[in-house]
Symmetry: C2
Subunit: 285 residues, 2 copies
């Protein structure tokens, strides 16, 4: 029986902290404000938008939703990002991706001011993570993994972490964040030979590949901490992680469930970044 690393207590602890900080911002006549930019009506985006709106409201964070038609071109979206950059009452911007193929996603991402890039989509933010200093924020999911590990006091210094997946939204940045905390980090991916053996040898495993229940008990060993970043749906429409929870949970030391794990902490981390951006904007942070 593994310890269940649930997101809920992490979210609650973050809420207690954020409520105080939002109140302090209000005393300075600042309403921390998130711009949500959505192109089209993708169900994933709509679902995350609803969750974000609810969480923002509960924390006293204002949200302005900016919705473009799915036929929007790069120039139209660029105009919206430019307006967000210039609007001093907006502190952070969450842009839903992937964008439609008609839009140059790289060009759009780099238009956003790093100071408002609360989800680490600009090259400037990613450079900050790689270099270990600078403005900008880590992608919210990568930062959420760190918050989860810290809340449950998982030792990172000198620990061996295997990160499976090398995307720019989670695998690559979380590897750098872990390295900065003095973990030894192995970056694995679809071309990795002997993946199961490498995973079994780690103290901590972070799975972030989007393979529904793709990693079974053969990949894990006793005492490990397993962070499951995947949010997938199986053939019957049930939400599940990258890890085959039913067979892995009895083997390992601790594991995040899906749902109820990293996903909920990610939403709170996005909000924490908005609050921090607002604090930085008035020199409070």
């Amino acid at each position: 029986m593994a310890e269940l690393l649930k997101g809920k207590p992490v979210v609650e602890a973050m809420a207690r902290d954020l409520e105080l900080r939002v109140a302090r911002l209000h005393e300075h006549n600042v309403n921390p404000t998130l711009a949500i930019v959505r192109v089209g009506q993708r169900p994933d985006d709509l679902s995350y938008e609803r969750t974000a709106l609810k969480r923002a409201e509960s924390l006293g964070i204002d949200v302005r939703s900016m919705v473009l038609n799915e036929t929007a071109c790069t120039e139209e979206l660029a105009t919206v990002i430019d307006a967000i950059n210039k609007e001093v009452t907006i502190h952070g911007c969450l842009l839903f991706r992937p964008l439609p193929p008609s839009i140059d996603e790289n060009a759009i991402c780099d238009l956003l001011s790093p100071e408002k890039d609360i989800d680490g989509i600009t090259r400037a933010s990613l450079a900050s993570i790689f270099v270990g200093q600078g403005a900008g924020f880590a992608p919210a999911t990568a930062a959420a993994v760190m918050r989860m590990l810290d809340y449950y006091e998982v030792p990172l210094h000198g620990a061996h972490v295997v990160v499976v997946g090398r995307s720019l939204v989670i695998g690559k940045p979380v590897a750098q964040l872990l390295l900065a905390r003095h973990a030894t980090v192995t970056m694995c991916h679809s071309r990795t030979a002997d993946l199961a053996e490498l995973m079994r040898g780690a103290d901590i495993v972070v799975c972030a590949t989007g393979r529904a229940r793709g990693y079974g008990k053969e990949c894990f060993s006793a005492g490990q901490v397993v962070i499951d970043v995947g949010i997938n749906f199986d053939g019957e429409g049930n939400m599940c992680g990258d890890v085959d929870f039913a067979t892995v949970e009895p083997v390992v030391g601790a594991i995040t469930p899906v749902p109820g794990g990293i996903g909920s902490v990610t939403t709170s981390t996005t909000m924490a970044h908005v609050v921090e951006a607002a604090e930085r904007a008035i020199g409070l942070s």
Copy 2:
């Protein structure tokens, strides 16, 4: 008896390629030109400058040395970098570091145009390596490791590489370059537990920590490829690598010597970057 991965044949192969490319640039009335910027008279800098001048001359690459007094301030150096950025006949800039403590090194590095940043010192170049696209070049030493591995046809796809050291000039960027070639990469450092065991399990080990003969045979196993990036001097003033060559060479499958290994390839890689920057400047690359 390990295969000796000497730098000389790599340097010679690169020279044959670069001579053709320099000749083609000359046909376009372009003299590929490197600016070397040195502050003070550090023996390391002077030594590398002599080597670079010699290599540049042999390849038909022009060099302009710009030397500042060791008491120079950030503004003075900034003026030099600015002039290099604006001078269209200069294609690349090699700035010797570390700079004296009186100079804000980070600020200086970020002033350089990424297009002329042939040693990967700007945040923009480092972001390109992390993101996997964009202008700029990898730090010459990191790129030299890749050239060495490619020249000797060391398979990278799916191979497990342990990188020891996490500096921005070698460990971190080489890990990203290896990852982009589909290697599985473990980033180790001074806080890594069971370092010797991790090193022994790799297919390829890259040592880049600056610990003279710091890694003995207990860290290696049969058949491994060992890339020794260290350039150190022992108590008697003899140049040596991070690896204890005498005891390790009999154990492993292949190893780069020091001197005569990565160091010489690094100088050629710097020159290759200058040529490529010149080619890019006129749309030849």
